[in-house]
Symmetry: C4
Subunit: 272 residues, 4 copies
């Protein structure tokens, strides 16, 4: 077997011992990388272990760079990989550190920090290792257009009630502008309720009460939609699987007596 | 074709290129209008771009005025349009600015601000361009009477527990009056929880705990209702209605080609 | 017709014009009564209209007293009414004011205030005028035992995590005692989140995160139960109502060909 | 009957009067024990009744110790009990107080407090007395793998948006580090919304708005899953399985007396 085929097996397939080991190591490196990005942002930890994080970041970036190059080398159609979702994620996992060279002196600290934090997107590399629940995905995809209408309704309601609350409460009670009032309305409608802004006038509190009860009714809609679509989805999957001995068609209804594809009796067996 | 018919086609129908262009332009103008109303309310932006917003408001109002007049001219029964939902929305989209002339000197700033903000209702003009999800609307309409009973129950509960909390916590812990206590109960029952008012005494916290757990149970009700009604709705729509011409059996799956009860081909018609 | 029968018709039945008028007047008096109790608790309104509320309370109490006496007189079995739910509610609607005589001088202000607020329970008198949604009530009744287990689980979780949070955060961060910590856990688990108490230590915030995600999963349970029970309930009601011409049995399945009660063919009509 | 058999009957079975009495007494002792742990943590109560709680704790610990020993003696396979869930819970219910002897002088107060609070786990002893709702448990077990994927999605989203918010708002607005920002994102996504940290910049508030609406959509997923699985579960259980001995048709309603397909009496058996 050619070395490229071997490499392909190790990197892209998980059913050989070497392939499994490769995946496990990569998962550990990704997890460590994300952990380091997170801890690096805690001031107290940064002050103490700054140098360690700097070294670790270089090691991890080099590992990901090697992985990226190996993935390109070992695949037949490298461009398809490069422009795929995971290809872009893999590239973004290595770039930030290299880019800091170009910006390190002239540009502001903000750009640097933004670049360093881009590394958090490495978490998307993990999704590769989760078997996608197709059932769930299909239900979500089917619910999407209806949920969009619902989100649109939420936006309409929050624009109108947000403006109303701005008019009633005004800047003196924290509703400093219409965008802020809309932000407050969405905070209330989704039952989050931070409490950073809250109505003070009786009329404002009364309208807030209406928004909350409306939010209650509104929350029922996406739940109902996903719930119903998911139920339909799983029902279709769990359907009786009596198969036709003539054409092999499997998806018949429980009460079916004849194959819906070829009309052959479902009760007959090959031995008849 | 008469010019009025042509106009009608452009304004009321969206399937010709000109009609589509008209709709797209209008959508952009509406969106801009709402954006300007929102930005106008932000003090910092208002201070800088006040004059620009003033001009823009005039341009937009004139555009909407022309649209309103054209809609009346091009339709056969103008009164039906004028008193329809969108007719009133269209009128309200133009009026505010004109009305400011009458109030500008003598009346207070409050009235002016209220009038200016009325323009936010222009957002309702957008609903014209959203294909209504009849399925969703029917489910909501059917759920409404049951949700009303549920809302009534929420009100009863919040009146009684609100009074109870007023008695227990009292004005010294923020529950200044019964209406305010009822407002707090609804904030809690709907799981919004601003935190502007919160129980301080052990008994008050205990009752708050009960309200929260009750709110949990209560939230299940509208969700359950909408969920169930929506499921019924979508089930009825998704039912394939191709019936067998031999035995009359109706409940076939979408993919069925032969009757599941008698094995007769579903594609054959009596005329075959 | 005897005067007691006439009175019974007016008070207990709503299908005659006089009965309807009686109900409408009573509803208005109840609503006014509740409104006055609420407004009376607002300090600013109380200061101004104290005397008016005092008079109004006397008028309303006398109206309810007359109503109570008339209800007892006009019914055949007065004791069944007196000890019924509405009998007790009606009595409690009149008592508070009379009781203030006995406590007015010697007892504390607290008792008086409590008594005055008891009047809010008059709101329960309104439930008489709402047609109970039996469908909803049955679904709730059937869900109750399962929801009880769920509430029990919530209590177990909040006792354990409450104690844990008390240990981690301690009195210095607002978790002053285990009962307070349990209160906080329920506030968090039910996604209310007042923010009066919140974790400050990293470990506390991490456990709070777990509780919130758990709360998310937990909220799904009662919703799922009510949703499912309600769906079952409404499905059974909406069932095909083809009735048997032999025995009158109505609840047959869609696919039924013979009556499930007497075995008579459902396709036969009396004219056969 | 041997004394060990008698003891087994009293301790492990609840259908004899003595067994019932044993269970009731134990339940009371457990409840008192938890109540004491809770009250003991309230400073004001601790100061007054400290000595009483100390004595009570000793009495309760001795009762649980005796119970633990009796359970081991009266069972045939003591090791299976000792390493079972309830065996460990029972042991942990007695240990804390004994362990305080070893730590009382040399170790810190913290360890002692932790040990004392371990007693709250006695609440798990109560689960023994609740008939598990198998229906609910099965639905939850079946939903678990799908809910895990959903929780994973929540974690991915909160890591990315948490980092984004840290970048936008920064330490000066309370988002002191990435872990804290992730904590805030989960607080927001689960609609808890403490308000201890909240966005201040317009961009931060806009992204917060997106997170909240996303959280709305996301909350629908576990609810939909549990709801659907529970419905499937209860449907399968509630299906009447009385079958017709004539034609074999199985799906009859509970009230059916005759087969709906052939009209044969459902009460007749082949032996009639």
């Amino acid at each position: 077997m050619h070395w490229r085929e071997k490499l392909h097996e190790i990197i892209y397939e998980a059913d050989t011992p070497k392939g499994k080991a490769f995946d496990v190591i990569l998962l550990i490196v990704i997890s460590l990388s994300i952990l380091f990005v997170m801890l690096d942002s805690v001031q107290a930890i940064y002050d103490e272990y700054h140098y360690f994080f700097y070294i670790a970041e270089w090691v991890i970036t080099i590992i990901f760079s090697i992985e990226y190059i190996l993935r390109i080398i070992s695949i037949k159609k490298p461009f398809r990989y490069i422009f795929s979702f995971y290809g872009i994620v893999d590239l973004l996992s290595t770039l930030p550190l290299y880019l800091t060279f170009f910006f390190s002196t002239s540009y502001a600290l903000m750009t640097l920090r933004a670049l360093r934090l881009l590394r958090i997107f490495r978490i998307l590399k993990i999704t590769r290792y989760i078997g996608a629940s197709n059932n769930l995905a299909t239900a979500l995809k089917r619910s999407l257009p209806k949920i969009m209408i619902f989100i649109y309704a939420v936006i309409i309601i929050s624009f109108i009630t947000g403006t109303l609350m701005y008019l009633i409460e005004g800047p003196e009670h924290g509703f400093t502008s219409i965008p802020v009032s809309i932000y407050w309305t969405i905070v209330t409608l989704t039952t989050v309720g931070f409490g950073d802004i809250h109505p003070v006038t009786p009329l404002g509190q009364f309208i807030a009460t209406l928004i909350m009860i409306l939010g209650y009714g509104v929350i029922a809609v996406p739940t109902g939609i996903v719930s119903s679509e998911y139920a339909t989805q799983s029902k279709q999957q769990s359907k009786n699987t009596q198969s036709c001995y003539n054409c092999g068609e499997k998806e018949h209804k429980d009460s079916a007596k004849f194959c819906q594809t070829c009309g052959y009796s479902l009760n007959k067996t090959p031995t008849d």
